[in-house]
Amino acid sequence: MNEELIRTLNSIVANATPLVIASIGETVTERAGVVNLSLDGSIILSAMVGFVAALASGSPVVGVLAAMLVGGLMALIVAFGGITLRQDQVAVGFVLTLLAANLAQFLGQNYTRIPGPQILNTPLPVVEQIPVIGPVFFRQSIFVYISYVLVFGLWYWLFRTRPGLAHRAVGERPATAFARGTRVNVLRYVYTGVGGALVGLAGAAYSLNVKAGWSTPPSMAGDGWIALAIVIFGGWHPFRVVLGAYLFAGLRVLANVIQRTPDVSIPVVLLNGVPWALMIITLLLVSSGAIERLVRVLPRPAQKWTRNFLRSDPPAALGTRFEPE
């Protein structure tokens, strides 16, 4: 296969990875019925903290842990505001995202554009030798391998384990979860925190690997919102979420490739805007009745599969409060 194509695919997987990790984290949270809207600010702040901690300690591992701690704490603020203080989760998360983004730029102002530790790619032995698949998926950084584990792990957890049933029930119908002996608000705290820690991990993946270093304005600004949209695009299902992240990153890389091709003259600004426009159109499509109309045109055997794959029902209790009687 074409060397150039493999390099491009490899770069798509690498670029998509922080999005994958962040949107899997948000899926964990939203599956428990909590909306953590602080994603964008959380990623930026944890990227900064991760970079600075790695720089100060000289150890990237410390950086990763610090970033996860920041992401987890930010999410717990949303949980505290939404569950304990009974405030609107969307409002708390939104304010928090603005605060965190600005705080990151303020606290990180002395660390911009300086070299620091990085986590380099570590090809996985044996599997990297598989033709095509090896070079694309297994000559990557540890973050990418973690993302694979997260995607399959979350799928297994949600759909194949007993605690996964409780996890989903808390997000779907907390009154039922309560009746079955599940401690609804405790679980919501836990999953919000875990999801937030993964968002922090995504921040570290940016500042220690994909977009190594720290700069102002932050190079990953806006990606948190994309991750939120990818969760919706992915229908809260890990496999579709990862597909959405790869699709989005693919469009971005494609834009870069076209930009470098001399014969094609498409304005840079337009190319950069394409993924966002595509995201809006996709979200409109999956959340409107258009899909259903489209499905009816398809041949009958394809209908059920298409409908299941494209269905996008959010967890029924998403964003709501639960108070046991």
Binding site: R162, L165, A169, T176, R180, G181, A316, P324
Partner: protein, 494 residues
């Protein structure tokens, strides 16, 4: 399993929902828990099954005192409750719902779960496919699943809250056979909360009757419907004096022609009705029997599946609510704060919303108008008070003030719900005054004496079927109670 409840008390705000209730249930028997809406039966059962904490009292199981911390703890003590709207998760499959809540390790053990599910289902003739999503099941099937799940968790006392609402006759037969079998062969106690006397008579060995939060008494079955009604509703009220009504030559306010309304749980089919100006039609029935749908269809809030709605001779079928309002229809919702008023707005703002028609609000005039209206309608509240700070009675009076003074038709959902006797009487004075001016009134109520006292005609709804009592002045509360419970031999179907 023997259960004893001692001196159970439960308050909701000012309402004493359970007042010193002591009761005992023996294993192997099916006991009906009877009472009107708001009698306290659901509250008592929720306390027994751990869904609600009690304010005072004790529960003994097989002689030992128990203290629950929640529904799951009650299930471990052997008491499980099937809620009216089964507590399951719509996004789960049947098997996932069955497994969720049962003890076990990390793995789902689907094969074991499926075997157990199928084993219990086959005993009772339930047909549940393990991989079907809950969202595709009927209420009757969801109930079956809950029963199967509770049995699998080792429940020895099964409480069912209105289990026959919204299920088919066939499913009811299957359910009743299963309950009889569980009582007879497994020695389980079955507690059936129901309004439906025919179900209680068909199934129960014993009944306990609650009224106004207190235990009226228990008795062994069989008992006749009228004996049960007497226990449920107490003695009959003295007959009300009413104005003789002369509808000769009165204009027609509302005509329904072959109206079919499809709801989630009930379908009202092929109903025809003509209401003349100045006529009061009461709608009786248990919550969710179709009377709410009918009221809302008369004001354009629900579109009928078939048939026509005519207001003052004009066909408004399918027209929007605004068109109904413009023709002189007024609607009063049961949820006063939820649908009738705007919580957060002041009384003056409400009056301005209803009566100021220009683009700009003349606030001094709106305030003067509000003061007048508050005096006239005897609302105890200041013009600048927020509406949610008013008592229920005052909110209802304000709603009256907001309605047009001489509507052609008023459609009112439970206009006196939760009001004390004085407020109710005042509301009815107002309504009767409007009726004297030629307003036709359609109202629903859970109070049988109110229906009998004020209606010219009564329509009784039972699971979407409608029976007419053409002359309400000759109806007795006893007769009405039996119709509401589904005993309509000899009554004419509308």
């Amino acid at each position: 399993m023997d259960i004893e409840l001692r001196h159970i008390h439960k308050h909701f705000g000012p309402v004493h929902a359970n007042n010193d209730i002591s009761l005992s249930f023996r294993g192997g028997r099916i006991v009906g828990i009877l009472g009107e809406n708001g009698a306290g039966k659901s509250t008592l059962m929720k306390i027994l099954s751990g869904f609600q904490p009690m304010d005072g009292g004790e529960i003994y199981i097989n002689g030992a005192r128990v203290d629950y911390t929640g529904p799951q703890a009650a299930i471990r003590c052997g008491v499980g409750m099937l809620q009216q709207d089964p507590l399951d998760v719509a996004a789960f499959t049947v098997l996932e719902n069955f497994i969720y809540g049962q003890a076990g390790g990390l793995a789902l053990k689907r094969r074991e779960g499926r075997a157990r599910l199928e084993q219990i289902c086959s005993r009772f003739g339930f047909s549940l496919d393990a991989e079907t999503p809950i969202a595709q099941l009927s209420i009757g099937q969801r109930q079956q699943l809950e029963i199967v799940r509770l049995l699998s968790q080792g429940v020895k006392t099964l409480i069912l809250d209105e289990p026959t609402t919204g299920i088919s006759a066939e499913q009811k037969t299957i359910l009743f056979n299963a309950l009889r079998d569980l009582a007879a062969r497994d020695g389980m106690s079955i507690l059936l909360v129901s309004h439906k006397l025919e179900d209680v008579i068909a199934l129960c060995d014993e009944v306990a009757v609650l009224r106004g939060g207190r235990l009226v008494g228990t008795r062994d079955m069989p008992a006749t419907t009228s004996e049960l009604v007497a226990m449920m509703f107490g003695q009959e009220l003295p007959p009300q004096t009413r104005q003789p009504l002369n509808l000769e030559g009165a204009e027609t306010a509302l005509v329904l022609e072959n109206l079919t309304l499809r709801g989630k749980r009930v379908t009202v089919e092929n109903l025809s009705l003509r209401v003349r100006a100045g006529e009061i039609v009461g709608l009786a029935g248990l919550d969710g029997s179709g009377q709410e749908m009918l009221l809302r269809a008369c004001v354009g809030l629900i579109k009928p599946a078939h048939g026509r709605v005519m207001i003052g001779g004009e066909n408004l079928t399918g027209a929007p609510y605004r068109a109904f309002l413009a023709r002189g229809v007024a609607f009063g919702a049961a949820g006063r704060l939820e649908e009738g008023l705007v919580a957060g707005l002041s009384l003056t703002e409400h009056i301005a919303l209803a009566h100021e028609t220009g683009a700009l609000v003349d606030w001094p005039r709106a305030r003067r108008h509000t003061e007048e209206q508050l005096r006239h309608y005897n609302v105890r509240g200041r013009p600048e008070s927020r509406v949610e700070t008013l008592s229920g009675g005052n909110q209802q009076r304000l709603l009256m003030a907001l309605m047009p003074p001489r509507p052609l038709l008023m459609a009112l959902e439970q206009p006196t719900r939760g009001l004390d006797v004085d407020s109710s009487r005042w509301i009815w004075q107002q309504l009767l005054a409007r009726r004297a001016n030629g307003t036709a009134i359609l109202f629903s109520s859970a109070e049988l004496d109110e229906l009998v006292a004020y209606s010219d005609r009564i329509l009784v709804f039972y699971a979407g079927r409608v029976f007419e009592i053409p002359d309400a002045s000759r109806a007795s509360i006893d007769e009405l109670g039996r119709l509401i419970g589904g005993h309509f031999d000899g009554a004419s179907e509308a």
